[in-house]
């Protein structure tokens, strides 16, 4: 399983306010809140930990098929600046995060050495629906190239819980695909 999450740092500043009362407490453990408040770049740390939780959640929900909304249950450990672990109950996911001045992007996996193909796309398309169509097309083009498959026979279907699945000639494939978008950025990983 693989999960990804991107946060557009400018967009999120305009659309979400983590400084509002009780926000941090709903989302982060005491230890995580300490990490945020003692950080030099608090805004970046909030969304770095958030993207770790979201990416790990996507792995978990694909694996167990049960959706829930409780980011605090996903507990982050930062191992280095870009590597981390997210624990939920007794289950562990490994994360790798890229931080730039524009975005924070995390990929979570069940095993640390699982190979991943990923790409980040900056789009000017303002509509979420258009962004989503473009992202899926880029993802399929990349899958076709990497796996040597015929692009015209590839398609993405969504499961009941909204997770993407890759089909080839109308047959479900074992390819794990994960998609994310936020503001100007979207990304796929498989």
């Amino acid at each position: 399983m693989i999960g990804n999450d991107i946060v557009d740092l400018k967009y999120i500043k305009e659309t979400s306010n983590w400084k509002r009362p009780r926000f941090l407490d709903k989302v982060f453990t005491t230890k995580e809140q300490h990490l945020i408040l003692s950080s030099e770049n608090q805004h970046q740390m909030v969304w770095l930990l958030w993207s770790m939780k979201e990416a790990a959640y996507k792995c978990h929900v694909q694996q167990y098929g049960r959706r829930f909304f409780n980011p605090k249950r996903l507990v982050c450990e930062l191992i280095s600046e870009d590597k981390g672990q997210v624990n939920i109950d007794a289950i562990q996911y490994y994360t790798a995060t890229i931080v730039t001045k524009d975005y924070v992007y995390t990929i979570a996996k069940q095993t640390d050495d699982q190979p991943v193909e990923t790409s980040i796309i900056e789009t000017k398309a303002p509509k979420l629906a258009t962004q989503s169509v473009l992202l899926k097309r880029y993802a399929l083009e990349s899958i076709a190239e990497v796996k040597h498959l015929d692009l015209d026979m590839l398609e993405i279907r969504k499961t009941k819980i909204g997770a993407p699945e890759v089909y080839y000639a109308s047959q479900k494939t074992p390819i794990d695909l994960t998609l994310t978008h936020c503001g100007r950025f979207s990304s796929f990983a498989f």
Partner: protein
């Protein structure tokens, strides 16, 4: 509060965060906050905090965990209001 009144209040709360107008126009008990209304998950925290403020209740994380649809949110709000 009647069911319709509660749905109307929740509809007002979620409006600033929705990214799918058609799903919002057709909002019902069965509407999913993320899959239908396309509310991003950071804004789902805002929805929960707004619900707490609007109804003057506190939602613990164990309850919040279920709040992914209008129906689930209605259940939690009613439960919390009954406890008051």
């Amino acid at each position: 509060m009647t069911k319709d009144e509660l749905i109307a209040k929740l509809k007002t709360i979620v409006q600033p965060y929705i990214q799918d107008e058609a799903a919002f126009d057709n909002l019902s008990e069965d509407t999913d906050f993320i899959n239908d209304l396309k509310i991003n998950s950071a804004n789902l925290v805002d929805v929960i905090l707004d619900v707490e403020d609007e109804f003057d209740i506190r939602i613990e994380n164990d309850d919040m965990e279920k709040m992914i649809s209008v129906k689930a949110a209605m259940g939690i709000v009613n439960e919390k209001l009954a406890e008051k």
